[in-house]
Structure formats: C-alpha cells, structure tokens
Homo-oligomer: 351 residues x 2
C-alpha cells in the first residue's frame, strides 16, 4: 500500500533534503515539552510501561473531556481502527477515504461496503443509511482524508440515530480534528450515546508520527471489550511519556490552529487562482487538488526534481490519476511549493 511520508523511497531522485508535502504533519514541529518527556522515558526504559496506562489515560481523559475509563490507547490510530473493526460484522466506508479503512478490515476478513461520495466529496447520507445493518461499523474520517472535509453536524447526528436504531456503530477518525476551525466536538454531542467511538491521535497534531500514539473516547463497557482484544503493552514507553506531556500544552495547540488557518488561507487562495488545477476547499491541514491537464505522474516527477514530495492520490479508492494531495506546511515551504507549481504551469499548454 502507498502512504505519504515515504521519503526514503525517493531520496535518490533529488540531491538535497526533500520537502515532504506527502504527509500531513504539523509544520511547527514537536512541542518543547516533548524533550523532557523523552528524558523521563529514558530514565525508566528498563521497566515495562504500565500495562494499564493509568496515568496516560487520565491525561487523555482530561484533554478529551471524558472519564479515564472511556479512554482506549493504541500503537497509532491505525491499530485502534484495526482492533475496533475486528469486533464488528462489516465495515461501511464513504469513499474516497484513508485506505487503511478498507485494507485493514479486509486483511482481518471483514466485508467492506463502500458508499460513493465522489460527486462533491460530501457524504451521501441517504446512500450510506440505506446500507446500515445490525452489527455494522460505520467508519468515517472527520475531517476526511484526502478531501479535508468535516461531516456536517446535522448529517452526523442523523447517521448516528439511524445507526443506533439499526444496531450499528460509528467510528469517527478525527486524527486531524485539532487542525480544523472550531465547529462542533463529536465527543460532546455524542456524550451518553452507546454506539459512537471518537478516535484522535498525537501523530499529526504534535508532529510526532514516530512515537505511535492513538487514543479514542468510547463507552466504558466497550473499553472493557476493546482492552481484551488489544495487545498488551501496545503503547511504547516514549509514546506513554509523550502523551502525558504534550496534551497539556494548550499554547502549542492554539499556535497550531492559528498557523494552519493562516497558511490554509494562503494556499487555498494561491492554488485557487491556478488555471490548470481544481482546488477543493478544506478545513484541515491538507488540500486535495485535481489536475486539469496531465496526471499525477507528470507533476510528481517534476516536483521531485525540485525537491518536493507530493502525494499521488490515485491509490485512494474512487480517485484517478488526476488527483494530488498536498500538505500545508511552513510559510517558506508553502511559498516554494506555489513557486514550483507556477513554474510547472509554464511548461504545459492548455487547449
């Protein structure tokens, strides 16, 4: 499977440091408190992490606004997706979506039902509701990757109610939640609902993809079932220590929101003015574009020669070779990307 962030595969194609626009990581870099957390973990590294992750779950509960008993943790969000999927009959997704929503359930022998949201990349509420059966898991990105769209509050509530009525469950993957402008908090609106799981992650928000820490707020009874399914010690000591530290750094999260909002506006404006691409609006820290001439390969090959790694998007179910996903990065990197895209435009002709 193709993923963003695979710089190593392409490093011989450019003589210098490649700027990675293919993975959606906070451009501010890890918060300062991370270093102290690492030192703490190193001092205790010859012990097993707490097999129950008591302190970590307490901090996550505080951060999410739920009880410690509602928190589950995993080796990155993808492990939680895998484990939760294993506990249900079928998995219903809305494509295009993060491909692991489709791959992981299939790997563990589950049927995956794909509902098409390709027309305008908004969820096909009626089409999705039609498919829901008892014991199904509806797995939705919110905001969705690669489209960068949040699900409308009303649509989400309506899907949740119908799922509840039919005995189905919803897993909202909100790994990019903190990058979005404030709209609603799924944990808050579904408080008390027994069929909703809200997944978040430290990976993207704190620029720490290497530590592997995912967490979710779920009903307490479900947390018990989840913990029976999960591997022991699946969260490593560095992720445990980092999670306890970084979630307290409100200032970092605030600065992130402001920085991304500003850069998103800049990028959407610049990309929106280019005549050879169609830019889809986003509330997240990445942008889906459609090439109106050429395909992902021609742009990819041009950009890698400029030291820029972009994400070809044809590997997302439902998208073809005309789509590209771009991360929102630091001001100078974003400006350089726009400059390179403008140069690329100079080399092509549009009939």
């Amino acid at each position: 499977m193709i993923h963003g962030g695979d710089i190593l595969t392409y490093k011989n194609m450019y003589d210098g440091d490649i700027i990675d626009f293919s993975s959606n990581i906070n451009p501010l870099g890890p918060p300062e408190c991370f270093n102290e957390a690492v030192n703490h973990a190193v001092r205790e590294i010859n012990r097993y992490p707490d097999i129950k992750y008591r302190e970590l779950k307490k901090e996550i509960g505080k951060y999410l606004g739920c009880s410690e008993g509602q928190v589950i943790v995993g080796n990155g969000a993808v492990e939680i997706i895998d484990n939760i999927s294993s506990l249900f009959n079928r998995v219903i997704v809305s494509i295009p979506c993060f491909m692991e929503y489709i791959i992981r359930p299939k790997v563990i022998g589950k049927d995956v039902v794909m509902v098409d949201s390709l027309r305008d990349f908004s969820i096909d509420e009626r089409g999705l509701i039609e498919k829901i059966g008892a014991g199904d898991l509806i797995l939705l990105g919110n905001p969705n990757n690669p489209t960068g769209k949040r699900i409308k509050r009303d649509v989400l509530i309506s899907i949740q109610r119908e799922a509840e009525r039919r005995g189905a469950y919803i897993l909202l993957d909100e790994a990019f939640y903190e990058f979005c402008p404030p709209d609603y908090d799924s944990i808050e609106i579904f408080r008390g609902c027994s069929n909703v799981f809200v997944l978040r992650a430290a990976t993207k928000l704190f620029a720490l993809p290497g530590i592997r820490l995912g967490y979710a707020c779920v009903p307490e009874e479900f947390a018990v079932a989840y913990n029976r399914r999960a591997l022991p010690w699946s969260v490593n000591a560095f992720a445990d220590a980092a999670g306890r530290a970084v979630l307290k750094d409100k200032d970092y999260i605030k600065r992130t929101k402001e920085y991304i909002a500003e850069q998103r506006e800049y990028m959407l404006k610049e990309l929106g003015s280019m005549d050879f691409i169609k830019t889809y609006n986003t509330v997240s820290n990445f942008i889906l574009i459609k090439l109106l001439v050429g395909d992902e390969d021609s742009l990819f090959n041009y950009m890698i020669k400029q030291g820029i790694l972009i994400r070809k998007a044809s590997s997302f179910a439902g998208l073809d070779k005309s789509y590209i996903r771009l991360a929102i990065k630091s001001t100078p990197n974003n400006q350089y990307l726009i400059k390179c895209l403008t140069q690329f435009r100079g080399h092509i002709s549009i009939d």
Copy 2:
C-alpha cells in the same frame, strides 16, 4: 491477564523502591549506545519511520545471520505471535507456557490445542506430534517461560520434520535465547526449512521492555505474507533507532551471558539448598520454583513487605498456587532475595 513487571499495582504495599523479580529483564540495564540511538530518533521524530524498516531489517539480518528479506519486525514479540497465529488454522502449545501463546490465538478466534508437559516440564514429543494437523502452528518457547528449559536439539528436529510432513508450521519464541549457554542456533539448523519461524526480541536482552521491538527470521515468501497482515508503522522510531544500534554491541551481549551464567549458578545453588522449595533447573534468566509449604500468596505477601515483587505462577495454564517464578537480577538484589527467602523459612514450620 496477569503479567510480570506490574509494579504500579503494588507500589502502595511498600514504602520505597520495589525490586522487580517478576519480569525477566537484563540486570545490566540498557547498553550505553542506546542513548545515542534515542538522540538520533528525537532528531528525526517529526518524520514517519521508514514504513519498510529497511535499515533496521538489514542490521537484524546481519545479527541473526539471515537475509534482510527474511526479517520481519513488530511492536514487541507479542505482536508477531498475534499476527503469525492469525495466518494458521489452529495453534498447538506445550503447557506450561507464556500465556499469550494461548490468549492471543483465542482472542482472534483460533482453536488452541494444549499438550501437557507437566510431568518434568520437558516437551512431550510423542503427545505433541500426535496432535499435528495440516495448517497448524506449533508455538513453543525456547527456552520456555516459565520453566527456563531449552528444547533438546534432537526433539526439535524431529518435531520440525513431522510438522513438515503433515503440512504444519513451527514458531519458536526465543525471546530469552541470548541468556542461555550456547547449545544450538535454531536459525542455523533450520536454514532452508520452509516451515520454521524463529522469533527473538530486544526487550529482555537489552533491558528495553519499553521500546517494544520484536523480530523474527522467517522464509522470504512468508515474510511477504506477514507484511501484508501487519499494521503499517508498527515499530516506533525509538525502537527502529535502538534496534539498529544495540544489536552491534557484541561486548554487551558477551558481558550479559557471563553475568547471567554466574548469577544463575549462585541462585540455583542457594535456592537448591532450601528445604521448603523445589527448584527447577534453568538455562535462562529466570527460575521456576515449587513451594513445598504454603502457597504463592503467602510468599508474595511476605516478599512485597520486604520490597520484592515476585511472579505468582498459578496464572500459567497447568500450574497451581504452589509455583513461583523468580528473575535472575543483579548480585546485590539476588543476595537480598536469598536473605529474605531464608528469613521467610524462619517463620514457617515444615511437618
């Protein structure tokens, strides 16, 4: 499930630092090169780990004496056990054994066949061979936890041949291999066999349980199937960096072998001379004992008051409350343990 190393659960029972005889970690502590590896990981933490773990697999291959393509890696040995089990029909184990051999396959819906080796804790070769069916996975600890025994070379070869004849596979969990006196190398004797997987881990040997790094040598075609099953980025950046560094530290491994050999001899002699316990011979860094009076609870409660955490062994299938497992630790800690056991003896009467 009960595991060793759960100090947090008992920390209120002793006013001071508890000495953990319940988890089997190298008493030398992590090698010095680990700190440099951590610094390296921190510098690159805002990137995803290499999704293919190319450098890590190269180092592990060199260390194990196999090709890079034969190496698989996981978030601790237990993730590899889980993933491999998922690819076979049934799992055959010899009890007593590490309980995750039984729990993990059951959690993922596999039948587990338990062959009894309780008489003298040597594998019941004929009993085991009788059970083997096509597509089964025979999962054996070598040395075995909690007994500390290696499988005899001839027995192992005979099981492997019979498994091959019947279309079955063997997973040898050799997480404690490096603590044992040299006898044979499973990777060497089964080179070219298509039905043997040899699992090792950095956790115990390098005193790094918190980093979560397991690895195995498997046939190349099986590695391809395994990688399809495994989660992406399951090895975190610290484990990736540490694995690349510590496996080169031959001197540390040599010192470990010598230290453990010396301390094992001391412990076996001291424990062997105590009249209220039966001590089972071990080649590993832990020792199974049977209490001839009282039970695990009375000894546990006495020892925790002395600041010593021991491993009750009744949670191992086949063992009752008369069994205890003790780790081999540093000289002063081992001496303190022996002293406390001697004191305990003073409080009990044997008819």
